[in-house]
């Protein structure tokens, strides 16, 4: 009775054959000693086939199937291909050892190969696991661990439902890049101004904005060719016809030196670069706004995307921001002032990064601290909702914003604000109503689906009745009919209930 072993690993499936060890009449001690000794084990168990996984995705599918105890298609084809064929009607003269009975029964059902998973098989599989690198000669020592590492990470990510869109790292990187870009664009723009001023110094005084300067210099190129034709184009950029005329006038009376064509080309390409960078910065800002609304919608609707992103990046991650108390959130960004004040026992700062949100500037000087504390409290609530909630709505953020507005009104005019409990209840009710609305829509759609399914089922049943011919199944028919009638009754009842 030949015996085979199926071993699943991170790099692929292995099929091995067991020689010379008979199951009956072997006690486990003898099996164990042969397992632990590598050379003896190598003679007892030999590799027949190895099927590596095609890709990381394939490996993930395989491990999902294996951990549930099902047999995937790849495993089925691998097993059928490499084991002796099972002839119809005849009992096969071999058996396949597997790690657990569930996958064994799946394999048996599909391919009629008898499987077993007892102590004996277990011992042998231990040996296979131990001496794995001897069986697969191509693998280098660290390869198996790397395969295990990659597969474990993807499997675990799937388990915790790792959502790629809600990764806050993107926001942190984006905000750092935004700051760097701002500095760089500024320094490049200054350089363009200086460089082009060699040729056309008066332009600097007329056009103050860096971005506009770069565009204007691109259009003008050589000031000696400046004429009335350029006025409409310049007007388009500058937005002011007078200024455009001023530019043309200054160009005619300019004291700057002429530049050779090559030099001009260089300046132009540099100016073009600056413009491209400025355009990219705009796109990056839009990207940041989108990302913030994905990962922290409530925080973004409460204090704005920029301030929200800065808070997240300062704390290190959204989870860190959610974990820290609101008093910390209030002075995030003012650590130097804080610890200096604590050391010298002076006054601690009232606000850190939060200062840049619009609310603080709207409060009077006396109330800035109070609004800062209130705002920090609401930001804490918003960040915690964003971090730990599964759904992604801005309902809470908007209500919290209203609360801050109300508080500002209170300080201005004395209008009493609503209590937080009431506001939050309102939000929850609104969300429930929305959910119910969606559910009724879904329910009506489900009813329609069920009706069409019922019709299809009735058609199938009538077809089956025609095919069946044996007496036993005839009896089942009548019971089926009874059952099907009952089922119909149940369905109509449930529909009535809904």
């Amino acid at each position: 009775m030949a015996m085979f072993l199926l071993s699943e690993s991170s790099s692929g499936y292995l099929l091995l054959e067991v020689h010379g060890l008979d199951e009956i009449g072997q006690n486990t001690e003898a099996v164990r000693s042969s397992v632990s000794d590598l050379s003896r084990f190598g003679r007892v168990v030999q590799l027949i086939a190895f099927h590596p996984y095609q890709s990381a995705l394939d490996a993930l599918n395989q491990i999902n199937a294996v951990s549930e105890g099902y047999m995937s298609d790849e495993l089925r084809s691998f097993v059928e291909l490499n084991l002796p064929k099972v002839k119809e009607g005849k009992k096969p003269k071999f058996s396949l050892g597997v790690s657990e009975p569930k996958i064994g029964s799946c394999i048996f059902e599909a391919t009629k190969i008898p499987c077993q998973s007892n102590e004996f098989v277990h011992e042998l599989l231990r040996g296979v696991r131990q001496h794995f690198d001897r069986f697969i000669k191509d693998l280098k020592p660290g390869d198996l661990e790397k395969a295990q590492l990659g597969l474990a990470h993807s499997y675990s990510r799937a388990k915790v439902k790792f959502n790629v869109n809600r990764v806050d790292n993107m926001v942190i990187q984006a905000i750092f890049l935004l700051d760097t870009l701002d500095k760089d664009i500024n320094s490049f723009a200054m350089r363009v101004r200086e460089w082009y001023s060699w040729h056309f110094p008066e332009l600097v005084k007329i056009v103050n904005d860096n971005y506009l300067y770069a565009r204007v210099s691109k259009i003008i190129v050589d000031k000696s060719k400046l004429s009335e034709e350029h006025v409409p184009m310049l007007t388009e950029i500058l937005g002011d016809e007078d200024k455009a005329r001023e530019v043309v006038e200054a160009g005619k009376a300019s004291m700057g030196q002429d530049l050779s064509p090559v030099d001009l080309i260089n300046v132009q390409s540099f100016a073009q670069r600056v413009m491209d960078l400025a355009d990219y910065r705009k796109k990056l800002y839009d990207y940041l706004v989108t990302k913030m609304s994905d990962i922290a919608p409530n925080l973004a609707s409460l204090i704005g995307e920029m301030v929200g992103a800065r808070l997240i990046s300062h704390a290190g991650s959204l989870t860190n921001l959610a974990k820290c108390p609101s008093s910390t959130l209030q002075i995030l960004g003012a650590e130097k002032a804080l610890f200096r004040a604590l050391k010298t026992r002076g006054n601690t700062p009232k606000y850190g990064l939060i200062f840049h949100s619009s609310f603080i500037s709207r409060a009077s000087a006396k109330n800035k601290g109070r609004i800062a504390r209130f705002l920090a409290n609401k930001c804490s609530i918003a960040s915690r909702i964003d971090c730990f909630s599964d759904s992604s709505t801005t309902a809470f953020g908007e209500k919290l914003r209203e609360q801050v507005e109300e508080r500002l009104d209170f300080y201005d005019k004395g209008v009493a604000p609503r209590k937080n409990v009431d506001v939050m209840k309102e939000v929850m009710e609104n969300l429930e109503k929305k959910d119910e609305g969606e559910k009724t829509v879904e329910a009506s759609e489900k009813q329609k689906k069920r009706k069409t399914e019922e019709k299809e089922k009735e058609e199938e049943k009538s077809k089956k009745k025609k095919k069946k011919s044996k007496a036993v199944e005839g009896e089942e028919l009548t019971t089926e009919n009874g059952h099907s009638k009952k089922k119909k009754k149940k369905k109509t009842k449930s529909q009535d209930d809904e």
Binding site: E8, S9, S10, R32, V35, S36, Q62, I63, V66, S67, S99, E100, H122, R126, R129, Q130, F132, L144, E145, Q148, L149, L151, A152, H153, Y155, S156, R157, K159, V160, K161, F162, S313, H314, A315, G316, S317, N320, K323, C324, P325, S327, T328, L329, L332, E335, K336, L338, F339, L342, K343
Partner: protein, 299 residues
């Protein structure tokens, strides 16, 4: 907010990693530390304020009896491990920087016995933890990865740690940690069912179990039958109250030991951890130890 013990900006409670990292980096370098005197002894400098070890004080780091573990001596002693990923801290632990003769800095992370049962066992004085550089460890009940990170420091790049944790919240933190340390393999799965993750684990040398479940002896023995090599070792931490809170702790330990012995997990040491926790014990032992060399293996 309470003022920190010394005037450095790293002690804030909020802000998390961003703040702590900034504080530590700003305080390194600067001062000369002493040269190495004897074999393996180098003088170091503490970077942050902490229990007993004040910022800027001179600290002596010596290897512990267990390979891969070190002791930092100053006013108060602390157990440390060498950081596998210099510059990264996991959960705001303190770090110790030591300068070698060739001007390179070695970074050590402090290991807190109040948070980790293994550190508690080492400070209580266990004979052998069986974890050294290069071994493969299966850790059941990894939680957020605190002890796992220290074990990963000890086993180094040649060894690896398979960390099994069932909870999703802890699992996320564990996975973040594992992304930085490539010798930690995170497995978010129930340890009761080793068949489910049999594709992810190779044969290991040591199993650590800290699951605190009433059937933990069975969990350990099942995992051992799948993954622990013959002649390998295990450590299991027993919390008397989670097995049976009505009977005395000693009885509980005895019951667990007997259950283990039935499954060929032979205990060699039972350690009562009373310094940091109460009603906890650690059992160390071996799996399928060869009978003839019993005298040699029970080191």
């Amino acid at each position: 907010m309470r003022p920190p013990k010394t005037g450095r900006g790293g002690g804030g409670s909020g802000g998390g990693r961003g703040l702590a990292r900034g504080g530590v980096v700003s305080s390194t370098r600067g001062r000369e530390s002493g040269r190495g005197r004897g074999p393996g002894r180098v003088k170091g400098r503490e970077s942050e304020p902490g229990s007993g070890i004040k910022g800027g004080s001179k600290v002596l780091v010596t290897p512990h009896r267990h390979a891969g573990v070190f002791v930092a001596k100053s006013k108060a002693d602390a157990l440390v491990t060498k950081n596998l990923v210099p510059g990264e801290i996991i959960y705001n632990e303190k770090r110790i920087f030591v300068q070698n003769e060739d001007r390179s800095t070695v970074e050590y992370r402090v290991w807190n016995p109040h948070r980790s049962k293994l550190a508690d066992a080492i400070t209580t004085g266990v004979d052998n933890i069986w974890i050294k550089p290069g071994v493969k460890v299966l850790y059941l009940g990894a939680s957020s990865g605190y002890t796992v990170s220290h074990i990963s420091d000890i086993v180094g790049p040649e060894g690896c740690v398979y960390a099994v944790e069932h909870s999703h919240i802890c699992g996320k933190v564990l996975m973040n940690m594992a992304e930085k340390r490539t010798n930690v393999i995170p497995i978010i799965e129930d340890a009761r069912d080793p068949a489910k993750y049999r594709m992810l684990v190779g044969m290991v040398d040591v199993i650590f179990s800290d699951v605190a479940q009433p059937d933990q002896a069975k969990i350990l023995s099942l995992n051992a039958s799948y993954f622990l090599k013959s002649g390998g070792h295990f450590m299991i931490s027993i919390k008397a109250n989670s097995i049976d809170s009505t009977i005395a702790a000693e009885t509980v330990y005895q019951m667990e030991v007997e259950k283990l012995q039935m499954e060929e997990l032979r205990p060699t040491e039972i350690l009562h951890l009373d310094s940091c926790e109460e009603k906890h014990a650690c059992v160390f032992g071996g799996y399928r130890l060869p009978r003839k060399q019993k005298a040699d293996s029970a080191v």
